[in-house]
Symmetry: C2
Subunit: 339 residues, 2 copies
């Protein structure tokens, strides 16, 4: 028997039961009485739940993100905060930057603050070596850690992600099926999510028994202008593709600007697909077709996972959702079969 | 005598003195000894500073913002968090939305969490009536409140802003001096900052002894596409301007898309000026000329003000900085005199 039984029996949410136990004033007196009555009937006293429900805890979750001014991460933080607030949890925000040393320090800081859990927002937190991920696994010995859009195998570490590999696979497959062969994959990094995107791209080629040339894959960090210039440089060497699929919208906008610079028509001569379905894609001309990784949904998953862990529920180590595609002006192909 | 004397005498920052007093491990042993020696020489013991330095406090600042996924606010949160972290303060983030009732509740929540101060990020927190601002003034009776980019007159409320009126005045004046008369001001709201922008626009007309028609001012909230359609509708009624100055970059991008739709050349037939100098402006075509309200600098001011208040320093109720202009492809006029 657990908290779920109480919420089910009382016909209220787990958050409401939690609020009753925490003496939160937001609960109506009628609801409070109903919940307490159910508990009594079931032979429970609030103390039974005390540990699992976060009594005597800080009711605070630490969110670590590289940079909250990044539009993808900013949106994630917004959804996470809103969702955690629904369960009366506070958010302690840490903008860690990308340096491993600093991240390790921030984790120590959050542990010293006795937060109830840590959310790592962004797959860039998962490093390539076990050694560098050790501080995360060690933190998870004390409190649950949830990784948004990354994957790390360790006890008490949970991951909520979008199936990035599948999304890139489907986009690429659609173009290959339509007879396009010169497709460029433009990625930003070899983070977990970056690697997954690239592997989805490659899988589509493989499945069709087609060969993907080495220069069809570029992994390059840079501003919009830097990406534009990189592509202009390639084009001047005679390397041009018919389709550019990317790992984020800024890369895609770089591609749109490259086309503009050289008078290449979009989507006539070149099709471009972004990733993240961010507001940036609505600003460029034409507007960006972009993979919608349903960030709000992933953030809800992160918080759901945490609440289940807090209440000693069974939680899978990895929760994966499928992406959608927001089709706009930079593509003319029919994606209907693929999405 | 105060903490500044110690930091000056020891030749270290106030943050370092604070760290020494808080037993923070980030300080080298040599520095620690130096600071403690200065304190001894000056006849101080750490306890003297205890209250002012946040000992026995939560060392936590609450940040309230409407929506952290808004690119302007997301950037503000990033700078504020980084700056507060330098002083070993944690950030409790609250995304309040735009409903007054919810904001009031969030403020109560933060007070109940015993945060050391509250930062209201965005001028939309300041309401038109004294009644609706009362909860802010009442909170300020307990802890300092700093408003970023808004103005509210109340005891223990401090404001750090950019001179938005002056920025719009200078942009508009430059165009009037160049002989342009048909200038549209496109604002989003009548928040404190919104009103200031409009008044700067009007002041430029007034000073030149020129008349500004009523339909040269539009205050309209809406998405990029909605703003585009609004301007298309006006143009079809025969109302077209040579210049559109705006209160934010999204409005300006709406204007760029309107021009694109009707085949109006930018900057040949129409010049457009954005506001906030956000990343969005780098995504559109041509790239946006935009007022740079130096958000990072304002955020530094917010935190400086707070640290002074914590240490019982003298702090002006209002700290104002001047804007710059990032000149890009949507304008051809020479702003050099004005900026």
């Amino acid at each position: 028997m657990n908290i779920y039984d109480v919420s089910r029996q009382a016909g209220v949410s787990i958050a409401t039961v939690s609020r009753v136990l925490n003496g939160n004033a937001k609960v109506s007196e009628a609801t409070r009485q109903k919940v307490l009555k159910v508990m009594e009937e079931m032979g429970y006293t609030p103390n039974v739940f005390a540990r699992g429900l976060g009594l005597n805890t800080m009711q605070t979750v630490g969110i670590m993100c590289a940079d909250s001014s990044d539009s993808y991460l900013a949106t994630a933080i917004y959804y996470l905060e809103q969702e955690l607030r629904n369960y009366d949890y506070d958010v302690l925000l840490c903008c860690t930057g990308y340096e491993w040393e600093n991240r390790k320090k921030y984790m120590e800081l959050l542990l010293s603050k006795r937060v109830d859990a840590v959310i790592l927002a962004g797959s860039n937190f998962v490093e390539q070596t076990r050694e560098k991920n050790r501080y995360i696994a060690e933190a998870a010995e004390k409190i649950p850690v949830v990784v948004l859009n990354g994957y790390l195998e360790a006890e008490n570490v949970y991951c909520a992600l979008c199936d990035d590999a599948d999304a890139l696979y489907r986009v690429t497959k659609t173009y290959l099926n339509a007879g396009k062969r010169d497709i460029l994959f433009l990625g930003r990094s070899l983070s977990y999510s970056g690697v997954r995107k690239r592997s989805g791209f490659l899988q589509a080629y493989e499945e069709m028994g087609l060969k993907c040339r080495k220069n069809q894959i570029i992994i390059q960090d840079g501003t919009i202008d830097e990406i534009r210039d990189l592509l202009i440089g390639r084009a001047k060497q005679g390397i041009r593709e018919e389709v550019i699929v990317t790992a984020d919208d800024e890369l895609a906008i770089g591609a749109v600007k490259y086309a503009k610079s050289l008078g290449i028509q979009i989507p006539g001569d070149l099709e471009v697909v972004g990733y993240n379905n961010s507001k940036l894609g609505l600003c460029c001309e034409p507007e960006l077709t972009s993979v919608d990784n349903k960030l709000e949904y992933s953030c809800m998953n992160v918080v759901n996972v945490l609440m289940k862990v807090f209440h000693h529920g069974r939680v899978p180590a990895r929760t994966m959702i499928s992406a959608d595609l927001a089709v706009r002006g930079t593509t003319s192909i029919n994606f209907l079969g693929g999405f």
